[in-house]
């Protein structure tokens, strides 16, 4: 079993990271009171923007182009999220509808633009991020092979974002205000906080992180943009709820998904696992999530105002 775990771990982490960072994006948005069903679309859009930059620059500056791609993917996701922000914050639209529209627009529009720009719906990346063993740390017994071997730089960036998010949310004035906007926006407003602005910031951050997640998929395991992220945005949303709207909960939830899915994916080539009917392995993460949700259901920590438009009656 240990051998299997050791074998799976680095790839499970690689698979987890984009979901994790997207889910963290969702965390900002929902903590500010804006439900973001559009994470999937934001990922797609960010992935598209990043892929296009990498595509343009990879022959000129291979290493740099990847990091630029990550940056532009973030910006692209953030920019695209403005559409959701505008509808759900400025226009007080139904946030679920707006998010659904974001998903639909991203899928259709990126392919439409990709065709026009590159003449091709698919955008390929020559080479993604390298995978490296962290010197010294990868030699630590147990933890070394699990955590510090074959890692992507992006993984550490995302873990940094995770820690930073925790700190921002709970230790800074910005975080306090953000959470207040998601729990009781009118209280926040009466404390002099510009709820609209906070929500805009949060939704844009969620777009940036989801966009980053999209590009990470591209520069780590997929190497190609094809107009879809295969439902990972929805998984990120589920992980957000499963993780009870908390950074560490989200880490746990996404890693659980990542590990189980990876295990199911590769069970075919691992004789020890191939005795289990594949359908069981495939279905396992989803069934377990349902069970976990039942167990945690007693203490739901959902932001109280998430999904409710905020309207001060201003003209």
């Amino acid at each position: 079993m240990w051998d299997i775990v050791k074998l799976i771990f680095p790839y499970a982490i690689a698979y987890t990271v984009p979901i994790l960072v997207t889910s963290l994006g969702g965390l900002y948005s929902e903590r500010s009171g804006v439900v973001n069903i559009g994470l999937e679309g934001l990922m797609v859009f960010g992935m598209f923007a990043g892929a296009y930059i990498v595509f343009l620059l990879q022959t000129v500056a291979p290493g740099l182009s990847i990091w630029l791609g990550l940056l532009v993917g973030m910006l692209g996701g953030g920019l695209f999220a403005l559409l959701h922000a505008f509808a759900s914050i400025t226009l007080n639209a139904n946030q679920v509808i707006s998010g659904t529209a974001i998903n639909m627009i991203a899928g259709a529009l990126t392919l439409y633009i990709a065709r026009t720009l590159t003449g091709s719906g698919n955008i390929q990346v020559i080479r993604g991020l390298p995978r490296v063993d962290i010197p010294i740390l990868s030699k630590i017994p147990i933890l070394g092979p699990l955590l510090f071997s074959s890692t992507y730089a992006s993984t550490w960036v995302v873990l940094g974002i995770l820690l930073l998010s925790w700190f921002i949310l709970y230790k800074t004035a910005f975080g306090l205000r953000l959470r207040a906007c998601g729990e009781h926006p009118y209280a926040a407003a009466s404390a002099g906080i510009n709820v609209y602005r906070m929500r805009y910031i949060a939704v844009v951050i969620s777009g940036m992180l989801a966009g980053l997640g999209g590009v990470i998929i591209l520069v780590t395991y997929s190497g190609e943009f094809n107009g879809s992220v295969a439902g990972l945005g929805f998984l990120a949303l589920a992980a957000l709820i499963f993780g009870q709207w908390k950074p560490l909960g989200i880490l746990g939830a996404t890693f659980f998904f990542g590990f189980m899915t990876t295990m199911a994916n590769i069970s075919q080539v691992i004789p020890e696992l191939s005795i289990i009917p594949p359908v069981v392995l495939k279905v396992f993460p989803y069934v377990m999530t349902l069970i976990a949700l039942v167990i945690f259901s007693k203490s739901s920590q959902a932001p109280k105002a998430a999904g409710q438009p905020f309207d001060l009656g201003k003209k």
Binding site: A173, R177, A189, A191, G313
Partner: protein, 506 residues
């Protein structure tokens, strides 16, 4: 500089409603200035404009003689203006400290320790008795109000606006609040106080500005004006303050509660070994500080909450294991505390709301199919009987009714079911005197028709006006049941703190 605040000719319109139609209000430094008006008169709107939450369409605001533009609450705080809202603006799962520093945290990285210390100091100085580390959801409403006050003090507000602060308080808490307000005045602050209770205005205010339907009526010197005069200015007609009622003629026991134990939302016993019996033809008032078991009692009777042990009989039938609907069918009606949470389905029409508990019965439906004619007839009847006014009659959405009309609709619906036992939980909360008068009359009519009424109210005046007997609760226990003639406000207030009558007269 005579006035610290001057609001001149303030005009504010909401879609379809002119909330403020050229209202003028001038606040002197060091005074308590009351703002009086019916529900929907525009009081909260006016104060929200002063506090920077809304923007006036027209009009001028001067602070200390200088014209200002209050863009948002931050500007208001900078000008030394703070506000305690009618509905508390507190984040329930934040601590007291977090709520108070929210929006004026100082540095970007939170320093909760220093803030807590400052809050503790303020709390001691003004006698507020607050623990900065408590979570809001764990403290009483009275305490929450003090947090709101601390929020203003923390920001060095000079002008403090209180929007209906006493509506949610117990008599004792009201007295304490009055003391706090006096402290504030002594420390050199000025206060604007919104309240529907003329008695309170008399007690503490220096001057009073009265508005009606968004229009400025006048400003009076409280010392030189009677409550009757003020009430007349407010509603535009004479108001009866006391409910006329004859002697009660109590009959058989209809509601019998024995040794009832009920858990509260925090999973501890909210009602302990509670026993009570209510007779036909009487109004049984339940007096108590909020959160002392009233909700648990009422919800246990109606079935919204499970009981742990004990029995509840209505007309001799044990009902504590029956479904909610079965209980209503035994002749129980219930005017709920929160009209928006429980009382109405705001997206349904008034007509649909009128059959909320009847829709499955003939003639409103037959074999699962609704009968629109019967529904319409029924709701028109109730609306007429109880003077429910709505733009499109029974086809109006409930959400489009004003608060008073919503409440009248609920009262009408419940009384029209001709219940043997009517439970009325805070039936007039937040309503103006006109609406209160009307609802009180209906409750007494019910009693006079030989029906039982269980009236839960946090307002002692209401209890004293309507009840024949009063059950006082404290800490989830029944303290005592007293006849209304044998008691008075002071005694009830003391009992509500948990002191038993025997102990009082020693």
């Amino acid at each position: 500089m005579e006035y610290i605040i001057e609001m001149i000719d303030i005009y504010k319109e909401f879609p379809g409603v002119i909330a403020n139609n050229n209202i003028t209000l001038r606040l002197k430094k060091g005074e308590v200035h009351a703002l009086l008006g019916e529900n929907g008169a525009g009081k909260s709107t006016l104060m929200s404009i002063l506090f920077g939450l809304y923007h006036a369409d027209r009009g001028t605001i001067k602070v200390r003689g200088k014209e200002v533009n209050i863009q948002n609450p931050n500007v208001a705080y900078d000008l030394g203006i703070g506000m305690v809202h009618q509905h508390f603006q507190l984040v329930h799962n934040f601590t007291v400290t977090e709520n108070i520093i929210l929006g004026s945290e100082g540095k970007q990285i939170l320093d909760r320790k220093t803030a807590s210390k400052k809050i503790k100091d303020l709390s001691v100085r003004y006698g507020l008795n607050i623990n900065p580390n408590d979570k809001i959801e764990d403290i009483s409403v009275g305490m929450q109000q003090r947090v709101e006050i601390l929020k203003m003090l923390y920001r060095d507000a000079e002008v403090l606006i209180f929007d209906e602060p006493t509506a949610v308080l117990t008599p004792q808490e009201i007295i304490e609040l009055m003391n706090i307000i006096r402290n504030l005045i002594e420390e050199g602050k000025s206060v604007i106080l919104i309240t529907h209770k003329l008695k309170e205005i008399k007690l503490i205010a220096d001057r009073c500005t009265i508005i009606r339907r968004g229009k400025y009526i006048g400003t009076v010197d409280v010392g030189k004006t009677t409550t009757g005069e003020m009430a007349k200015m407010m509603v535009g007609r004479e108001v009866l303050f006391n409910v006329d009622k004859d002697e009660a003629k109590p009959g058989e026991v209809i509601l019998e509660i024995n040794d009832l134990n009920v858990l509260n939302s925090r999973k501890t016993l909210g009602l302990k070994n509670f026993s009570l019996s209510v007779k036909c033809g009487e109004v049984m008032g339940v007096a108590g500080v909020e959160g002392n078991g009233q909700t648990e009692l009422v919800e246990a009777i109606t079935g919204l909450r499970k009981t742990e042990s004990g029995t509840i009989h209505i007309s001799g039938n044990e009902i504590s294991r029956l479904s909610i609907r079965k209980r209503y069918e035994t002749g129980l009606s219930y005017i709920p505390e929160d009209r928006h949470k429980h009382g109405l389905i705001l997206d349904y029409t008034v007509g649909e709301n009128m059959i909320m508990k009847l829709y499955y019965q003939e003639p409103y439906s037959k074999r699962g199919i609704l009968n629109p004619t019967a529904i319409e007839e029924h709701s028109n009847k109730v609306m007429e009987l109880f003077d429910v006014r709505a733009g499109e009659g029974n086809m109006s959405l409930a959400s489009n009714l004003s608060g008073g009309n919503q409440q009248k609709a609920i009262v009408g619906r419940e009384i029209d079911m001709n219940p043997d036992l009517l439970i009325a939980f805070q039936p007039t909360r937040g309503l103006d005197v006109g609406a209160i008068e009307y609802i009180h009359k209906r409750i007494i009519e019910q009693r006079d028709a030989g029906k039982a009424v269980l009236l839960v109210s946090l307002e002692l005046d209401e209890i004293l006006d309507l009840s024949d007997r009063v059950a006082v609760v404290a800490g989830g226990e029944l303290i005592d049941v007293v006849n209304i003639e044998d008691t008075n406000e002071n005694e009830l207030g003391l009992m509500m703190t948990g002191v038993r009558r025997e102990d009082m007269h020693e």
